[in-house]
């Protein structure tokens, strides 16, 4: 942090923004995405590399989504997701948004009011004219027991969600042994998340079993930032 500039804090003393770090804004989104075979991918234009973007998923109530992964493909990002959990929830649509810094987005703010912040070199760091993810809660869900079929863990959604949140779902990926680097996994196991219809809980389970030595979240948490994006 430079010693000149502005910092704003929320009422819990957590920094909202400063004039040093570029902020995440929403660059693009797609609604009602459906993968015909459940597991699939969507290619979104994104030229902000080498900055790896943040992907947000807005689920449908009670549906399960997992096996999340992103890849660079030229000036695009490919997002992989399984939008069904076999035997538990059918193929279900979802909404997807891509967030990154203003520089990576290439967007320019269009309105002449609100809040804009700039860095020491004049780089636009944030503008309230953009859409941006307002993180309302960071849900911490204990890692499920992968040695027990159907083991499900949950965390309460406590901020009073009156609409379905956008979820930064990167933790709902494959299981892997973490200690000692990559490990052999007999078969891939995916982590899935779901938000209930009342929007009071977010849950996690896996699509198969494996030893918890292959579970990077065993004894830890999957963390899901829950967001509002104004206007979508």
């Amino acid at each position: 942090m430079s010693n000149v500039g502005v910092q704003l804090f929320n009422e819990h003393g957590i920094e909202l923004l400063n004039t040093n770090d570029p902020m995440l804004i929403v660059m693009d989104h797609r609604l009602d995405v459906v993968f015909g075979s459940g597991y699939g991918s969507i290619l979104l234009p994104y030229s902000g590399w080498p900055e790896s973007p943040t992907i947000l998923i807005r689920p449908r109530p009670g549906a399960w989504y997992g096996y999340f992964m992103i890849q660079r493909e030229g000036s695009n990002v490919r997002v992989w997701l399984d939008s069904r959990l076999i035997g538990v929830s059918p193929i279900t649509p979802f909404d997807i948004a891509i967030a990154c810094t203003p520089r990576a987005s290439g967007l320019q703010p269009s309105q002449g009011y609100g809040l804009e912040t700039f860095g020491p070199t004049g780089e636009l760091l944030f503008s309230s004219a953009f859409r941006f993810p307002r993180i309302r809660q960071i849900a911490q869900v204990p890692g499920p027991n992968l040695q027990a079929a159907g083991s499900t863990t949950s965390a309460a959604i406590t901020y009073g969600a009156d609409v379905m949140p956008w979820v930064i779902a990167r933790d709902a990926t494959q299981s892997v042994a973490f200690s000692g680097g990559a490990a052999s996994i007999p078969s891939a196991v995916g982590f899935y998340f779901s938000v209930n219809a009342a929007r009071t809980a977010i849950s996690v389970r896996a699509d198969d079993t494996t030893n918890n030595s292959n579970n990077q979240y065993w004894g830890r948490f999957l963390r899901f930032p829950l967001c509002i994006i104004q206007g979508i």
Binding site: L8, L24, P50, S52, R72, S128, I135, I138, I168
Partner: protein, 91 residues
């Protein structure tokens, strides 16, 4: 007394509230793995293992926060000899 900022748009809709968090990029980079290199630990000053931070990374790569660094670990059967891109977000 509440501190911070509230913002409304031209239609009077609340767009930023006192209780929000916002994502800020604090570091970014790229890394490559090989058959013999499965993991990389990268210094990111200020990072701690808490909900305050996360890593967005491409590929079948697991990211773990440490105090002052991040460790990226690839799945054995994937993401070999590809450039992977990572960004650390503070929220």
């Amino acid at each position: 007394m509440p501190a911070g900022r509230q913002e409304w748009d031209a239609q009077g809709r609340l767009t930023l509230d006192l209780t929000d968090r916002l994502g800020k990029m604090v570091a970014k980079g790229q890394v490559s793995f090989s058959q013999s290199v499965n993991a990389a630990t990268i210094s990111v000053p200020g990072v701690v293992d808490s909900e305050e931070f996360y890593v967005s990374c491409t590929g079948w790569v697991v990211c773990r926060l440490n105090n002052g660094s991040i460790t990226l670990s690839r799945y054995e059967y994937a993401s070999v000899n590809e450039v992977q891109y990572w960004t650390v977000i503070r929220q």
